[in-house]
Symmetry: C2
Subunit: 142 residues, 2 copies
């Protein structure tokens, strides 16, 4: 099923479904755990298939683009910091169009998160919530 979706995603972009891409896709869907690229590369090797590191990285990017896979950690090129002393806790909305960052805070949201943590026997100390989408200006521009 996921291979059909990947195939049509590739087709629409004029890209080809190769052995290597199939090997990566298979391995990605062979487990439901989180994984890192290097680890995936080794698993593919172990499983008897073959795909170079370069192909693993390239295919992962395609899989994310296709929507079949997501990054659990959203990384920029480097770490981003902010001083927090003197600022109350807040979360972020980031516009995919213009990069605008909206900082927001919701008492209700924080309370609900705590409630959900309690329901899982978990004590939350910190959190990061990042919402990606489009800001007012970019929506109107379309």
């Amino acid at each position: 099923m996921e291979s059909k979706i990947f195939q049509s995603f590739l087709g629409e972009k004029g890209l080809k479904l190769t052995k290597e891409r199939i090997a990566v896709l298979k391995e990605v869907f062979s487990s439901h755990e989180h994984f890192e690229p290097e680890e995936l590369y080794l698993r593919i090797k172990d499983s008897g298939s073959k795909a170079s590191r370069a192909s693993v990285y390239r295919t992962l990017n395609l899989l994310v683009e296709s929507g079949l896979v997501e990054k659990v950690t959203r990384t920029e090129k480097s770490n981003v910091y902010e001083h927090t002393f003197g600022h109350s806790h807040h979360d972020h909305m980031i516009c995919n169009g213009c990069g605008k960052i909206i900082e927001f805070y919701s008492e209700k949201l924080e309370a609900l998160q705590n409630e959900i943590c309690r329901g899982n026997g978990f004590i939350g100390k910190t959190h990061t919530l990042e919402i990606r989408g489009n800001c007012e200006k970019c929506i109107k521009a379309k």
Copy 2:
């Protein structure tokens, strides 16, 4: 004020308040924007103070440890992925003690996030919520 806090944080750990650390702290609190380490290093140089890249990185780690600064992006050594096709959207709690990952989903939480987005004229497409803290097992172990 933040320098008093940093000073006592350093004191408790038997560390020293040096010119370089003061320069980094000053620059970090000279603006309320998000920043990257390299950028901060250049700003310090421009401002007439001096601190090597090494010291900037080292001091940033201390500032995070002290609670005065936070990472906006939580990075591991490498990117982490998961396949999402065949799985419904979920968010993550991660235990600081044992690394256990709890996946959870709350209709109510998702709805509230959407409501907050609307209130900001923002249309959210995707989001990541990561809650760090301690799981049941690790709480009991103490």
